[in-house]
Symmetry: C2
DNA sequence: CGGGACTTTGAAACCCTTCAATGCCAGTGG
DNA sequence: CCACTGGCATTGAAGGGTTTCAAAGTCCCG
């Protein structure tokens, strides 16, 4: 489930030589919270990689709702599409998110010339598939408790900080709601529900500690 | 949203020379309905492509439920992973589904040697990302009517038969339920709901005709 | 200290799930 | 030819979870 790329809260060290070559093309920039990184309808001229912070690939619906299709953490690539235009809006979710942009044409030429780079890009695309597929499993859960529970476990893994089981969420309740396809109120209720069951403890809205993984599985099974 | 690869009910003609090379590696086989194509836990030694019929990439949950993570139609690739082992069960959904299997090692070597093939595989991976992301949007819909409605529109596009707007569903209600993360009964109710609104007509359980796309949009907006 | 954004909590309405029964269709055997 | 069977689809009713609207509470920052 987890990709070959390490997810850390800071820039992953590109141990691969292939990446060092790609990185020569990269333009880095820092984003404010909510700042748009790429916009639907524009030509898809870049591949991107999150280096620090977090970003969300969003789809805007006709009714004004926002759906976060993919949550992008350090190490994750996005903008990988076979279309000529972007279909999604990508926004920074936390302040000072750092993104590297790779000019697509030149990156593709580099991939043509260097099989290692082609392989690396392929792997990154595969990682994106795995990410989105695992999100589908979360969205397919029956109850909101299960959704929030599996989201937290996934985040604990992806953010894998030195202190595992202690998560600093990069997003607000509202953004979790857009990501999990439930209302922000239900997200909140589910978290307090998990707290009351002794599965987690909350230290401020975004600091979450996983106390008892056993409880999560019980919740997952039938929310007893 | 739709990939560069044409989706037809029969084998797509591989106009690209790159594909012809890859096809030399392929082992083709025909599957019965429900037959497993690859199994979780086994080494991921192949890439696959559906040539005819349909297949479903399934995740089995602890409670015995089945979730269809990706619906694979002719032209679609699957088995694209960076892991050493498969995580999903892939099953044929219709009788006589034809699949081509590409030995992964050799296909990768071929991609290393031939940038066109590498590019083609990359595009196919990108297409898989687009497929799953659009499925996330469907799962994120509010009501079952919206889910079923947008599913039908998507299928009409992907199956694009000569007579557009006339779909022959490759799957049962139960499988649609597993794909849309709602119960089979609700799928049925939604279909009759759409019928009563004049959006579709049913000729047998699997033959569906889209009568009025306007109605779909109304449903999507707020299911009036 | 106040403002503002975010989070939590409450109550009513609504939609979906579940369980159950009925209906439909094709294939089989008498 | 017909009855029968099994799988699938449809429909009904009760119960429960989520959404929505609303209000109160919390936290951070100027």
């Amino acid at each position: 489930m987890s990709s070959a790329i390490a997810h850390r809260s800071e820039v992953p060290t590109h141990s691969d030589q292939a990446f060092e070559l790609l990185d020569c093309l990269a333009v880095r920039f820092k984003c404010h919270r909510g700042q748009e990184i790429c916009r639907p309808g524009r030509p898809a001229d870049y591949w991107y990689r999150v280096l620090a912070g977090a970003a969300g690939k969003c789809a805007l619906q006709v009714d004004g709702r926002r759906r976060i299709v993919d949550l992008l953490l350090p190490g994750d690539f996005f903008g990988l599409t076979s279309e000529k235009e972007n279909h999604h809006l990508v926004e920074a979710v936390v302040e000072d998110t750092v993104v590297a942009a790779f000019p697509r044409r030149r990156a593709e030429l580099m991939a043509d010339a260097n099989p290692e780079i082609a392989r690396a890009v392929r792997e990154l695309a595969f990682a994106a598939i795995a990410r989105v597929e695992s999100q589908i499993l979360i969205l397919g859960q029956m109850s909101a408790l299960e959704k929030v529970g599996s989201f937290l476990l996934t985040m604990a893994e992806r953010l894998s900080s030195p202190a595992r089981d202690e998560i600093m969420l990069p997003m607000s309740r509202c953004e979790m709601a857009d990501y999990l396809a439930i209302s922000a109120e239900t997200v909140s209720r589910s978290l307090t529900g998990l707290k009351h069951r002794g599965a987690i403890s909350l230290g401020g809205a975004r600091r979450i500690k996983i106390l008892n993984r056993k409880t999560f599985e019980e919740v997952a099974e039938h929310m007893e």
